[in-house]
Amino acid sequence: MENADHIQSVQITHNSIIAETPPTIPLSVAIDRATSWRKMITSLPAESKLPQTNAAGDSVGPLIPAQLIFRAININMRDIDLLKQEHPDASSVRLYMSIPDPDFPLQICGMLVPVDAQNNDMLTRSSDANISREDMLQNEAYSTVYDFTQPCPTLCNTTSPLFDSLNSVEPYLRYTK
């Protein structure tokens, strides 16, 4: 019991620290990071068999079109609430990148998976002796892999300075003059 009490005490202390110092970064840093991401993506060849190179060895192959630069993943807050309700024992959530349709390789979506206190993905619900392995793999009712994210593009906030560094940051500064 002593150990359990000790663990509980540590968790409370840990939570209170998190509450006081949220892991945010300055907006200017976020804009720089998003800009670097877009630059990196646009430097990638559009197809895996590329790059084609020129005599100097530089990549000249068709690059990913600017229209298709993958920027963000939108997640409904109510879905996060639902995930928290269904997995109160999860200590975090892991976002896996995925491509739902290989014919559209740049439509990247996220798959959210609850993660336990030992850093293990929680991929299925509590075991049930009557459920077959096949059902566990094929039936979404037994899966805890959540597919409720929407990528940008297409669901974007195109006026955001995180979407494009040329966008004004002013409308997003919620300060009182």
Partner: protein, 213 residues
Amino acid sequence: MGQFASIISLTKKEILTLTETLITDIPTATEDLNLITTSLNPRTNVSVSPPFAESDLPDSALSKTISKAIDSAYLESRYLFKAVFPSVDLPEENTDYGVVLNYAPVTGHFKSLTNQLSLFLTDKNLQPLLAGELAKQLQPQVMASGNTPSATFGRVATPNLRIVDPLITVEYLFWVAAFGIFRTGTINAVGASRYAVVYSCSAANGILKSIIK
């Protein structure tokens, strides 16, 4: 903003013909339209048929390319509406679609978009007086999208508000728009482009309730 070739006031054939007439650089327009079709492709099947899957439409290659792009925008706006507002019922007829011809954005100029949205909302027995507020939210997003086919969403409160202590019930107009700007040709020898916009807008009324604390 441009002239709306919308399904509310034109036939499908007229929308395609008008758009085709406007396009002077077919290879460039085709390239952009194909990217719109690819980008706005919903990631799961949508339970409605795309509007242009009919045999009596013009059968030129360009016409088919335009109709595919509009189909994608239509399906994307309906798919996203259900994804973003799962509790709001979206009637099948509550989607406007078409092409904005001669697209020329001017910051803060919402008049033609407001007029079109007003026409749409009136046609679907929604609140046309909210068109201005909707246009104010949507127009900057379209302008800022540049060459990225995109979608956005929002809600506008209607005047229908009810308070039955402790419950507040507010009716909103929920909306989703999908759009993609494409080049139709060049204006001058310097190479400045002309643009048009494939678009689709879905809207429906819904209720949000909250408890007074």
